[in-house]
Structure formats: structure tokens, C-alpha cells
């Protein structure tokens, strides 16, 4: 993403922001509230169109007409609310909107058995997660397991190139946070580019390869996680050269 700008009426949400993303890495985007993180990734996932600036993917210009367009191009997101239908089973949630079907006597019916098996396979093999049970409503699973189902839904598409995660650990306790971070690493190791928005610098330093800091709609710096520490990133977030509030 180069020179991305976004205005909503009179409000400038983003101003001349650059973002580089490579496969097989975790890029964390951090910044205070109102820094423009959500807006930036909404442009990346096709929900918003940039007012100015360009996107390119693999050297080709990228114009997204909407979120479903982004999905067909291999860019998907897991939202903070997880977008799960709590009453349905994990398998049903995983295939929501793209169910596997079978034709019986000329009628197209859902192939529940295959979906259940496939869901179990994706969760076990690609993510290394074993759910408490595949046959309970998703609401009765733990927060971390629900995350896993939401991630599995995005990851199931074999052509996924970019996975955006918005505050994945915000509502999780320490054990579940650890599991989710491990999941993120698993996804990264499969060659997918993962973008993580997080308020928790601990999590960011635990899992990310690079950190991009946003401040007030502009890029405030990109650092390699290995070469940096919490204090300097905090400085970038807040604005080390104390600007007038």
C-alpha cells in the first residue's frame, strides 16, 4: 500500500500511509485509539476504498470492489467479534456462506457429514487445534477455541494470502492468549502474511516479525521486532518528540 489516504467527509482518517507486507511474516499494527489502524485494514480488506494512494499485489495493481472481492483475491479478516453464529456447530460456522453440498435425487442438500469431517481436519492438521466437541453450539466453546474456528474459516480457502486479525487476544485470558498466538505463528508458517492489530505490546513482541506504528492517521515508523523494544515502540506510538496534545 503506497500513499494511502482516506477522508470521510471533513475528517482525515489516513494521510499518506505506506504499508509493506510479505508472505510468511506477522506484521503488527499498533497505535493509540483513532490512529487509523482499523481504517487502514478496512482498505486492505476491501471494505473501504482509499481516497488517494494505490495498492499493489505481487507487482500488479490491486483495486478491490468490496469485501467479497478481497476474499477472492486471497485477503480475508477475522474480526474482533469473530462473526460466529453461536447457535450453530463449529463445522457449520466454518463453512458458513460456502457450504459443501451433495446432490440427492436431483436436489442440492448440505453435506453435513463431510463438512464436519473437513472442519475437524482443518482444525487438527492445519491449525493443530482439537475442539472440546464438534457437535456443540459454538457459544459453549472457550474464547480461544472460538478464535480457532474463526481463523479456520478464513484459512480454509486454499488461496488465502493475507489474513488480517483485529484484536485477536483482547478478550482472552493468558492461557488462551498463548494458544491464539501459537495459532498465528502456525498460520504464518504456512506462508500466509498475517496482519495483527493489537493494543497489547506484550503480544506484539511475542508473535510479530515487524511492527508498524500509526499515529493520528499517519505512519509513525516501521521497526523489526527483533531490533526493538517496548519502550521505543511506545515512544513511537505516543510521539517521542512531545507534540502539543
Amino acid at each position: 500500500m503506497r500513499g494511502i489516504g482516506k477522508r470521510f467527509g471533513g475528517v482525515t482518517a489516513l494521510d499518506d500511509v505506506d504499508l509493506d507486507l510479505y508472505p510468511g511474516e506477522v506484521l503488527a499494527i499498533v497505535g493509540d485509539n483513532g490512529a487509523g489502524k482499523s481504517t487502514l485494514i478496512k482498505i486492505l480488506t476491501g471494505v473501504h476504498r482509499p481516497t488517494s494512494g494505490t495498492l499493489t499485489m505481487a507487482g500488479e495493481p490491486l483495486v478491490l470492489t468490496g469485501h467479497s472481492d478481497a476474499i477472492t483475491r486471497g485477503i480475508d479478516a477475522v474480526y474482533q467479534s469473530l462473526a460466529l453464529a453461536d447457535h450453530l456447530t463449529p463445522a457449520a460456522n466454518l463453512f458458513l456462506g460456502s457450504e459443501l453440498t451433495v446432490r440427492v435425487l436431483g436436489v442440492t442438500l448440505l453435506d453435513n457429514r463431510r463438512m464436519r469431517a473437513e472442519a475437524e481436519r482443518v482444525l487438527n492438521e492445519r491449525l493443530g487445534v482439537r475442539l472440546r466437541s464438534m457437535d456443540v453450539p459454538t457459544s459453549s466453546l472457550s474464547g480461544g477455541q472460538r478464535q480457532a474456528v474463526a481463523i479456520a474459516r478464513a484459512v480454509y480457502r486454499s488461496d488465502l494470502k493475507v489474513l488480517v486479525m483485529d484484536e485477536p487476544t483482547a478478550a482472552l485470558g493468558p492461557q488462551e492468549t498463548a494458544r491464539t498466538l501459537k495459532l498465528i505463528e502456525t498460520v504464518r508458517d504456512q506462508g500466509i502474511a498475517v496482519v495483527v492489530i493489537s493494543h497489547s505490546l506484550d503480544d506484539v513482541f511475542a508473535v510479530s516479525d515487524r511492527i508498524q506504528v500509526m499515529r493520528r492517521g499517519r505512519g509513525a515508523g516501521v521497526v523489526d521486532t527483533a531490533d526493538s523494544d517496548v519502550t521505543s515502540v511506545l515512544g513511537l506510538i505516543v510521539g517521542a518528540s512531545a507534540e502539543a496534545a
Binding site: Y22, T56, H87, A92, N112, G128, R130, D135, E185
Partner: protein, 391 residues
Amino acid sequence: MSDITDMAGRTGVAAASGEPDALAAGATTRERLDRYVALIGPMAMIAALLLIMLILEPTRYFRLSNFDIILKDAALYMPMAMAMTLVICTRGIDLSIGSVAALTAIVMAYMVKSFGFPWWVAVPLAISLGALCGLVNGLIITRLKVPDLIGTLAMDLAYRGFALVLAKGVVLSRFPEEIVAIGRGEIPGFVAIPVVIGLSTVLVGYVIYTRTRLGRYALAIGSNPEAAELTGIPVDRYKVYVYVLMGAMAGLAGVMLAGKLNAVQATSAPFFNLHVIAAVVVGGTSLFGGRGSIVGSLAGVLLLSMMINALVTLRIEFFWQSVASGAVIIASVAFYTWLQKADRDGSGGLASRLATPEARRMLRFIALLFAITGALFLLGWLFAGETTAVR
């Protein structure tokens, strides 16, 4: 430029390090039971009803001919209960089904009697007209964004109005024997045609609910409308489908009713909506959407018909039926809500809950209302003048 150069040859099987995420293995017993709660509820009530009738009036209630009557009465509501389950699962509701049934039956009657349509055209026509009424409901709800409660309530008035315009006070009767057969006929071998029709629609409904996109998306839309949108489900289109199905089933019920009574008028089917919604709710479907049961709705329909039949058998006055139905609906919904509560063994019982300051304020308020009403009765009695006979 976002340089996402795809690295060649990366396939996605990578097992994670660390222990797999397996807490308590499998579903708990409580959860395995949860799936059958929808069935246990109405079954328990049916059992209770049978027990009561066994004590009070065994010979007249427990006859094959009586169960036959119950089944045929229930069969009329089965198609609508099936469709209403789907509607309620989407967090919607349809209050217009009685009027749709009456309207489509009246149009069918006119087509057959005044225009000589053959029955095998008129019956599908009635169902198709019902589907159109459902389409109007669906479009009003999805395009005009009118909330379903108000929208279908208003259309209930409108469809009833159309029926009155068409038929005025006339009773249309004496339908061709095929239509009467649909309402009350029997295949020799002791299976009533309406029961066959009813049970078939329930079976189709079960398949729709568990094995088709329509059923799956109806549940998803009711469970989390936002998630349904985000995953690309065409929410508006499927909501319309659900209301169209509802309307079609109302049309079918109209045909069955017309056949059963061999008569139809503009005021026919006055309480279809409440009866069907009650049956669905008693059957365990949640009014908040996302959770329902076709089999439960079937049980609910049977329970209501058994209950009404019991009241008739006990020679209880007809108008008590409404009181009884209301009581059963409230009791079952309260019971299901209580079953769903995660924490059920805290807080030490009724006495201690009545002793809190908040409860005391509530009790004082209730006492005040009763006192005012009682005082007014007393006042009237003290100042009573001449009485006139109540005819």
C-alpha cells in the same frame, strides 16, 4: 506497493508445536441432552396431559376415534407450524397467516365456483397466492425495513380486508369433492388425507431445516445477523424465501380448512397466527432466533390439539380454551427459559428471594394495586343502587 510475492510450493500442512487444545473431552451430558430439550418439554407436557385425562375421563379420551380427531385437527396446523419455525428461527414473526389462509381460500372458492376452475388448478393456485402474500410480507420487511411484528400485523389487517372486500358476508360452500377430501378425506386403510399432507410437510420441513441452505441460513441469520452478512449470505433474499414459504403454507392451510368445513368465509381462520406461534414456541423454538426444532413444533401442534380436545371431552366451556392455551404457553416458555439458565442452584430458594428489599418494594406495589381494585369493588357494593338483569 504491497509486495505479496507468493512463495512457490508452499502447501499448508504444518502441525503446531505444543499440546492440542483439548479440554474436557467431547460434549458434556448436559449438552447432549440440550439437543433433545426441545423434545422433552412438549413430551413431558403431553405425558402430563395423558395422565390427567387417564384419571379424569379415560374412556372417552383414550379412544382410537378420539385420537383420530386429534390428529386431523392437528394436521391443519402442521404445515404452518413447520414454516413458522423457520420464520421464528430468523428472529422474525408472521402474524398474517390466518388472513392469508382466508383470503387464498376465498379466491380459490371463487375460481372454482364462479369461473369453473378445475380443483387441480385451483388448489395449487391458492398455495401460489399464499406464496405471493408471503412475498409481499417479505419485501415489506426487507426492502421497506418495516419491523416484522408491525409489518405482518398490518398485513394481517390488509389481507383480512381484501377477504372481506371479495366475499363480504357470504359463506362460500359446497366445494368439489377433491377439495373436501383434502380437508377431511381418508385413504381406505384408515389414514386421513389431511394427516398425510400435514406429516409430509413436516418431513419436508425437517429436511429443509437440517439439510438445506435455506434452513442453515435461516438459523445463521437469527443467531447472528451481522455474521451472516459478513460471511456473504444474501440475508434479505433468504428472509424473503422464508416468508414466501410461510405464505404458501398458509395458503395450503386455507385449502385444508375450506375442505374440512366445506365452507369458507371472510372471517375464517381467526386465530391461526396465535395457535401456530404458540405451538412453535411450546415446541422449544426460541423467539430470539438461532435455535429451533421442527420435531418440537410437531409436538407442540399435537399438544395444543390434545389439550383442546381434552377441554372439550371434559365439557369445559369453550371460552376457557383461550385461558388454558395462554397458561400452557406461558408455562412452557418459562420452563424452557429456566432450563436454559446456566446457573440454577444459587440463591437459596423462594423465601430468601422474597426477603430482599427490592422484592419487598415489588410486593408492596402489588398489594397496593390489589388494594385499590378491592377498595373500588367495596365502594361499588356499598353504594349499589338498582340492578338490571344481565341477559
